[in-house]
Symmetry: C2
Subunit: 252 residues, 2 copies
Amino acid sequence: MASINKYLSAEEAAKIDQELMSEEGAYTLDQLMELAGLACAQTLAKAFPKDEYGKVLVITGPGNQGGDGLVAARHLKMFGYEPTVYQVAEPKKEIYTRLTRQCRNMDVPIVNTVEEFKEVYERSSVVMDTIFGFSFHPPVRPPYHTILNHLASPETENSSQKRLPILSIDIPSGWDVDSGRQPLKDTNGDEVETFEPEVLLSLTAPKEGVRGFRGRHWLGGRFIPMKVQEKYKMQLPPYPGTDQIVELEAKL
Amino acid sequence: MASINKYLSAEEAAKIDQELMSEEGAYTLDQLMELAGLACAQTLAKAFPKDEYGKVLVITGPGNQGGDGLVAARHLKMFGYEPTVYQVAEPKKEIYTRLTRQCRNMDVPIVNTVEEFKEVYERSSVVMDTIFGFSFHPPVRPPYHTILNHLASPETENSSQKRLPILSIDIPSGWDVDSGRQPLKDTNGDEVETFEPEVLLSLTAPKEGVRGFRGRHWLGGRFIPMKVQEKYKMQLPPYPGTDQIVELEAKL
């Protein structure tokens, strides 16, 4: 397992994304999202084997991380999982419309209401949290406050149901990208519960806010040119074989 | 290893591509090329281990398969190989300009002349043939006749040099997509040599022309919706784990 010595601020993460998709960086969002989503799906497959965790609830938020989630759901289906997508908001950008259609073409169910989300939660075995990424700023708007509260402490008719294990991407949804797990409020000023996921996938490099994260931690984003790595003083570990992800050493 | 019972005609292969990228299929060329190129790189890595075959000469032709080759070269670099791209024609379409720049950003050398190609050939250990895909029609135009002849029977100053092993994609360049290895002529009416590659990667499903192929054979294209598989009566084998490729049974 590899170690890491660089954490990115929210500002740095946004800048790197811009550079990768600049005229010089030459990547398109389609390409990077495809590789990021594949890394998400591969991490879920490594951390949560199909036989035990076949039913995956993928929750997609309003930004690019939601797109990663849609790509991941499609790949998970190809890997033999049974993903269901809870798409919290109807996508407006053309790319999300296309990614949503690709999921439907793969017979991946997509639900859109909080009620359906709670139903799917009860019959799922693991959650992929692609709700908020490194552009997140509090407070939390509805219905996201309900979702985060439910992920932290599910209220179900089945009182024996435990909280499902969670794979988060870049930053656990609700955590501050720079300062980590902090008290969180919704737009009404009410407290929102946060959660610590069992597994984290950091894309490009871990964000400042996850320095305190103690679960299993993977790194993905095997597409960063050396020049960009050097500019941001990232010493990224080697990836094994042809994998798109590498597991990082657990913290003690 | 998996077996296959469906071979696609050139016409069917073109139709499937169109359907995948139609409004209903909803894929973009960027997405499919990224996944196809990754499958090419993974196949090379499985068939030609890095320690023995580190120096890869990727030859990119005028069509979409050339784009797959550019994507593959970038991923190979990330896998620790030392790829060099021989880009036979300067790309005009915007996507190839971007993919070329992505290679340059990864410090993948790109050469453009037949002379450079022959030089690079002498110090390479394996060739990735992304010259012609399933849209190929004879006769062969210059300088492609020289390239195919060289790949079949290299003329080098080092008389002990053997022909380098070759990974071809979909159809060995120069073979007829529907009828396989046939006598081939260039635009002057002169005979062009063809070759049988050591390894083949078929994307989506094997093409009619490779029914007689006897080398190691992989299948890639883990993104075909079940509806499309059924429409074209493709019974595709299961892929292992999170791989983008699966090896097919060798023919006896």
